[in-house]
């Protein structure tokens, strides 16, 4: 899909749909298939399981969340590390995969002239965690079917261009 030179919700959705499957396929060796996604998702989003988050600040400000169910996070971590994974291992894997998706999104934004810095990833665990960003002009969400697992990976991006 072609886009103008200003980051839009559609561009963010296309970008995460490109990089989430690439990151999961390359690092974990399993296919991640994007669903339709929502380029104009509600500003309140409810996430569950093991969720990685990274902030963007600069010409684009926002947050990227990747939410794995506990079961999916464990499967991914064990497959990636080639053995059993402790809770700390699982958190570390979720943080790094979030970093790879967000880093590639940042690169895309930077190439359009919207430079920004990334925060260090953090990971939260728990069900029904409500995340929102009142001032975000863009709210993008999608789920990804993971090969060999009935659970889905959810990615939520909130973003706003610097005024």
């Amino acid at each position: 899909m072609s886009h103008s030179n200003t980051p839009s919700s559609e561009l963010i959705l296309d970008t995460i749909n490109l990089y989430v499957p690439e990151v999961v396929q390359t690092m974990v060796g399993i296919a991640a298939t994007p669903n339709a996604g929502n380029a104009h998702a509600p500003q309140l989003s409810i996430l569950s399981g093991v969720t990685g988050s990274i902030g963007l600040s600069g010409k684009v400000n926002g947050m990227v969340y990747t939410a794995f169910t506990e079961k999916l996070a464990k499967i991914v971590a064990e497959k990636l590390l080639g053995g059993s994974a402790s809770d700390q291992d699982v958190a570390d894997v979720v943080a790094e995969l979030t970093n790879m998706v967000t880093g590639n999104l940042k690169s895309r934004l930077c190439d359009l002239g919207f430079n920004c810095a990334l925060s260090i990833p953090s990971v939260m665990r728990g069900d029904d965690i409500t995340v929102s960003a009142k001032n975000a002009s863009m709210s993008v969400s999608n789920t990804y079917g993971i090969e060999g697992c009935s659970d889905v990976l959810t990615v939520q991006v909130f973003a706003a261009l610097e005024q």
Partner: protein
């Protein structure tokens, strides 16, 4: 000569684990640091041959760490490879100006990292070659065996079905598999067959024997001068991480997990024994070098083929030849390992001014340029040039004679 030292500076334990796994079968010393400050301290202490440096880290990030490395006269010459998910033009230009030797974009494959590091340091596999160098200086630098020579595999495994699976997996290589049901039986076997021609080239031992019997057996093997250089690998289920780690700490060159991946197993053994796998794929046809690559090339087979092809192709040019036929007869499906091997070999050939032709079925080969172009976007192909770039059509020859006439 001492083993190359590699320092990985990254705040992610996952990255350390993956890098450590990737280099497990190589004779290298690995060092790890979790941020720029620790990285500088480790670099000053260890004086590594190469540094793998993450960008986004707490305490001190990779860019600041790189700046300090380059400002220190005692550290500035250490080559640095940046590992970053932030590959935007501005970021890449910034780190390039600071003197970074190379960069790897995340997500990355094991093959990406090993390939980049191998351009900066001489990577050698663990196993007979490395051990033989210390035990027998005359043998230094010489390969003990090639993949097409007679290879003996000793398998110490309680379950006959596993031994049979291994026999089946290596049957088309003509290798001999000797099965022993216990470490005691294996110890008796090796004690009775110590003539050099009977010595196994590799030993696979189940890690499931009680009372750490596999580790004790390893000690027996290593105390025998004849067997000192023979690589030993573990056999276990994937979740037996404690056993795998104990084996690795003891000196095993790696572990093969069950269920066995029979397609990949021969290539893993080739790597553990440090055999040159190019005789499987390369042969001379008069003055033309022919490389025949199978459709089912594994990931490890692809990586080793690419690595050994460099010296094979430069040897071709050194000997006064410059023609290469890539024979893809019978190939109908192009998986990533095969595509990567084709790309790397043809790009290397072009760099050496070797003229190449492709042989195969036109109907099966014609999508190759398009497949190569579409795969350029995936991580396994990052930084690998497309050998067909700029050419809209690909000349495919039905047989070697036709290809030779076209040179």
């Amino acid at each position: 000569m001492s083993s190359p030292k590699i320092l990985s500076v990254d705040d992610s334990r996952m990255i350390h684990t993956l890098i450590n796994k990737g280099f497990a079968s190589y004779d290298v010393e690995m060092f790890f640091a979790s941020n720029g400050v620790e990285g500088l301290e480790a670099a000053a202490r260890v004086k590594p041959d190469v540094i793998l440096l993450d960008v986004t880290m707490p305490v001190m990030d990779g860019v600041e760490c790189l700046g300090k490395l380059k400002a220190d006269p005692s550290l500035k010459d250490i080559p640095v490879i940046m590992l970053t998910a932030e590959a935007g033009k501005e970021n890449v230009l910034k780190i390039a100006k600071m003197g970074v030797r190379d960069y790897i974009v995340k997500p990355f494959t094991e093959a990406n990292v090993i390939d980049r590091v191998s351009r900066l340091v001489d990577l050698k596999h663990k196993g007979p070659t490395a051990s033989a160098q210390s035990a027998n200086p005359q043998a230094a630098g010489k390969k003990v065996k090639s993949v097409t020579e007679a290879i003996k595999i000793l398998v110490v495994e309680e379950f006959p079905a596993i031994i049979e699976s291994i026999k089946k997996a290596v049957s088309n290589r003509g290798w001999e598999v000797i099965g022993c049901a216990s470490p005691a039986e294996a110890a008796a076997h090796v004690a009775s067959t110590l003539a050099p021609e009977n010595t196994p080239d590799i030993i696979l031992v189940s890690l499931a024997f009680p009372n750490n019997a596999a580790l004790t057996f390893y000690g027996t093997i290593r105390s025998n001068p004849t067997l000192r250089g023979v690589p030993v690998m573990g056999l276990c289920v994937k979740t037996a991480t404690f056993e795998q780690n104990s084996a690795k700490d003891t000196g095993f060159v790696g572990s093969i997990t069950k269920p066995l991946d029979l397609k990949e197993l021969p290539d893993r053994l080739v790597r553990a024994m440090d055999l040159d796998n190019t005789p499987l794929y390369y042969r001379m046809d008069e003055d033309v070098q022919v490389v025949t690559i199978p459709e089912d090339l594994s990931e490890i087979g692809s990586l080793d083929l690419v690595r050994y092809s460099r010296s094979r192709l430069s040897g071709l040019v050194n000997s006064g030849h410059n023609k290469l036929i890539m024979d893809l007869t019978g190939v109908k499906k192009f998986e990533v390992p095969l595509l990567r091997a084709i790309a790397c070999i043809l790009v290397e050939a072009a760099a050496l001014d070797i003229t190449w032709r492709i042989v195969g079925s036109d109907d099966d080969i014609f999508p190759l340029p398009a497949l190569m172009a579409s795969n350029q976007k995936i991580a396994a192909f990052k930084d690998i040039k497309n050998p067909f770039e700029g050419s809209k059509t690909l000349d495919v020859f039905p047989n070697h004679d036709a290809a030779k006439k076209a040179f």
